[in-house]
Subunit: 489 residues, 2 copies
């Protein structure tokens, strides 16, 4: 099957659309040590070219430049050589190039940038640099972008930035953050695909990504890896995250529910089924997902977070959407998943929920209070209505509770609010969280954003953070989906 | 005419022959900080490629390498960032590259190297580097190399290194030193063309270079520039050296005398004539070349050298070969140049030569004693026979005399010895000077070589010296020419 899945993935390889972003600037006369900044006026992903010339004397030695690509203004003055974070420093976008000849020069690598800082390290004579062109690439077709207007200018602005974020992450696959990884992660894919249905509607790209994961090697326990590589060749990932494995099933169901493409669903359904078998086989005696270790669950970057309740919520959420999807298809497995859902829900009510106090503070998670538990239990349908809303609000307001850190977890928080019918409050949260990035001047939404903590980084150094990150693009999904509903009324 | 000359130059653009030099080495497993050296086993000019792979875990970030190309072993440990010489540091052959994908990687620039040092600056996982290939390029056709053997193994070894030096400098033009300049210099061209007639016999390449200079812009005084650029476009040089302008005429004459190609000679003869008009118009009242300034004469890199006598020698040498060539052609100008030669020779005997002391210590050069004056007066035919040989030997042995520094000046010293019929002594000098480089393990002959002074550099830092330099290739000319003569006997 692997070969078949890879062939299908290849068949759905998207065209990359190139757009030449011309950078308004006169030819600059430059000497060794000179430095200047180009502003692309928005965030783009692509390739830089320029023309090297000279004033009076033909340069009689190569010209050595340092070219630094920055996603935000802060990076311009950051000293990359001082980086001591956990990820490989080679991700920091800085090149030293030696140019032998005057004329056009095309830098060969792809970068993600709004600003470009060029420093002339050495030139033998006065040179000029001119005709800067940034060739932006994306598989998002701008002519395919769904027209959209909303009366609220703040939401309109948030939508614009969200769409730009998605666009720049849409390449050969749905990338997570084009400054770094070009691999495909399930958690990001799910949110990008969802937003894509309401914006660019690039269905082939979703199909491609689903087939790529279908071709991946499951681990001994039967789970898909959290990511795959696809360029220059397919490589299955080494890191296994159980919530991501479940969200692959969700992504497949989302795809069917949005497209009605039965063939693709059925093609990949065996892989989805395998995830469900794997997780079921690991339920404990109480019927709760076992979490012997925390490092095979993602949920959120939140220091010290206990994750059993949240993972059980992801399991419920997956069972729910899968049985709905199979029902819609008239598939014989639907009833079995519905039954599993009921069992898992009952187990949650019994072992994870504290009805007296209306919270999900339980022994599985060492009595830790977390927004994550609350959100995923709501998304899993364990609690509902006003009681659920009270539970969520209380948890969010509790100064001792673990809070959502990533835009990814904030997405599920908003999704939970929406599920509870709290549309206004959901939009308020979108404005409070994503709107604060827009207010800061963001062209795209960040990988990490903790209001009031600009230096926070999961990698020990802010320089490494991605400022255009797929899992932050979902406000466009919420805003547009709401708009559709309002229109239908 | 410029367009015509450039068209002719283009028509004679040589094919570059590529040879894949495979570097014996197993795939290396490497981590950040690891470093190793590849040995090409000889000096080559060309392009490096290799294959990036991995052991267990696919590298999840770009791999950043520092790749240093070294012409000699000393360079391997040199710290290029400590360079403080006069030429632009961008000539130092060191690149920092970021590689995004496993698979074949082709470095885009050309380098001159025997050793390549690769340091893994950053890699996220254990990588492998393998399949190193250095694609050596030259316009010298190895099948066209004249077969040659000499009984003396030392001369045979010197010839081999000389031929290798020439080969590596033969590219789109006769380059002077492929580590740095790719421009065409007259002084180097003359010696390369001469050696080429006895080795690779690439006549089109000589023609191309002659036409390129013919297309150059003469200065207000009528002289050709010392160099031109030809890639990516033709650019006339800015530095004017009168001895080089005269040696252009010599190079043209050499070409005719070796090929009998009348058309090319006559095409370019007007340019040659212009040089002769220019220098003649600047003779002083005594009929000696005027030298108001020293910086438009090269002769040699020899600190404090006074150059009038030597330049007058170059003038005589040029007049001599030009009148010989025109005589061979049956050209009407021959007699006029012969007459100018006699005048200039008489002026030299009167104002430059001290017959009492049999030396060229004169007021023009502030009574400085130099090998340079002696050599060029001999080559100009001012003194001859045993008396000339005594003069030369005396000057060479004089501890106070200025000595030949560059291989370029050493060429003319050997040529002067040959002219005096001192073949054995000439070959002894070849062995003493060039042979000492071979004894050091040279693969090619250096730009600068002063026995006992390994750190000497015209640029204030040895790191900048070129270790494969065109003007050092002439032992192959002397040795092979001698051999031909011996065979004819």
């Amino acid at each position: 099957m692997k070969t078949y899945y890879l062939q299908k993935a290849e068949k759905n390889l998207p065209t990359l659309h190139a757009e030449n972003v011309r950078i308004a600037s006169e030819a600059r006369e430059l000497h060794s040590g000179d430095s200047f900044v180009l502003d692309l006026e928005s965030h783009y992903v692509g390739y830089l070219s320029f023309v090297l010339g000279y004033t009076n004397i033909y340069p009689d030695a190569p010209v050595r430049l340092c070219v630094k690509f920055c996603e935000c203004r802060d990076e311009l003055d950051a000293n990359f050589s001082s980086y001591r974070g956990s990820l490989c420093p080679s991700w920091l976008q800085e090149e030293i190039v030696n140019i032998d000849s005057v004329g056009a020069y095309n830098m060969p690598r792809r970068y993600a940038a709004r600003y470009i800082k060029i420093t002339v390290l050495f030139t033998p004579q006065t040179i000029t640099l001119s005709d800067f062109v940034f060739t932006a690439v994306t598989s998002a077709d701008k002519y395919g972008l769904a027209q959209f207007e909303v009366d609220d200018p703040e939401l309109q602005a948030i939508d614009r930035v969200a769409v730009n974020t998605l666009k720049n992450c849409m390449q050969r696959v749905f990338e997570d953050g084009p400054k770094r990884d070009r691999r495909l992660w399930i958690g990001d894919l799910r949110l990008e695909a969802l937003t894509n249905y309401y914006t660019y509607g690039h269905l082939a790209l979703v199909r491609r990504c689903l087939y790529l994961f279908a071709a991946a090697d499951c681990n001994d326990r039967g789970y898909l890896p959290g990511y795959v590589y696809e360029n220059p060749a397919f490589v299955s990932g080494y890191w296994f995250l159980r919530d991501y494995a479940l969200l692959f099933v969700v992504t497949l169901c989302d795809y069917y529910l949005h497209t009605g493409d039965e063939q693709t669903f059925l093609d990949i359904y065996p892989v989805a089924k395998r995830q469900m078998v794997a997780i079921r086989s690991e339920l404990d005696a109480n019927g709760i997902v076992a979490t012997r270790e925390n490092d095979d669950i993602f949920i959120d970057w939140c220091e010290g977070l206990r994750k059993t309740t949240a993972l059980h919520g992801v399991y419920l959420y997956t069972l729910d959407i899968l049985s709905q999807t199979l029902t819609a298809l008239g598939h014989g497995d639907a009833g079995a998943y519905q039954a599993l859902y009921e069992d898992a829900k009952n187990a949650a009510l019994r072992y994870l929920y504290n009805a007296d106090e209306n919270n999900f503070v339980n022994a599985y998670d060492g009595y830790q209070v977390s927004v994550h538990s609350a959100v995923w239990m709501i998304l899993g349908g364990v609690v509902e209505g006003l009681r659920a809303w009270e539970l969520l609000r209380k948890t969010m307001r509790n100064p001792d509770s673990k809070k959502a850190v990533t835009p990814y977890m904030n997405h599920y928080l908003v999704e939970a609010m929406m599920k509870l019918g709290k549309r206004e409050e959901a939009m308020e949260h979108v404005k409070r969280f994503w709107g604060a990035m827009v207010a800061e001047g963001a062209d795209t939404f960040y990988e990490v954003f903790v209001p009031g903590q600009p230096e926070v980084s999961p990698y020990g150094d802010k320089m490494m953070n991605s400022m255009c990150h797929a899992w932050s693009c979902t406000p466009a999904y919420f805003i547009r989906k709401e708009c559709q509903k309002n229109r239908r009324k």
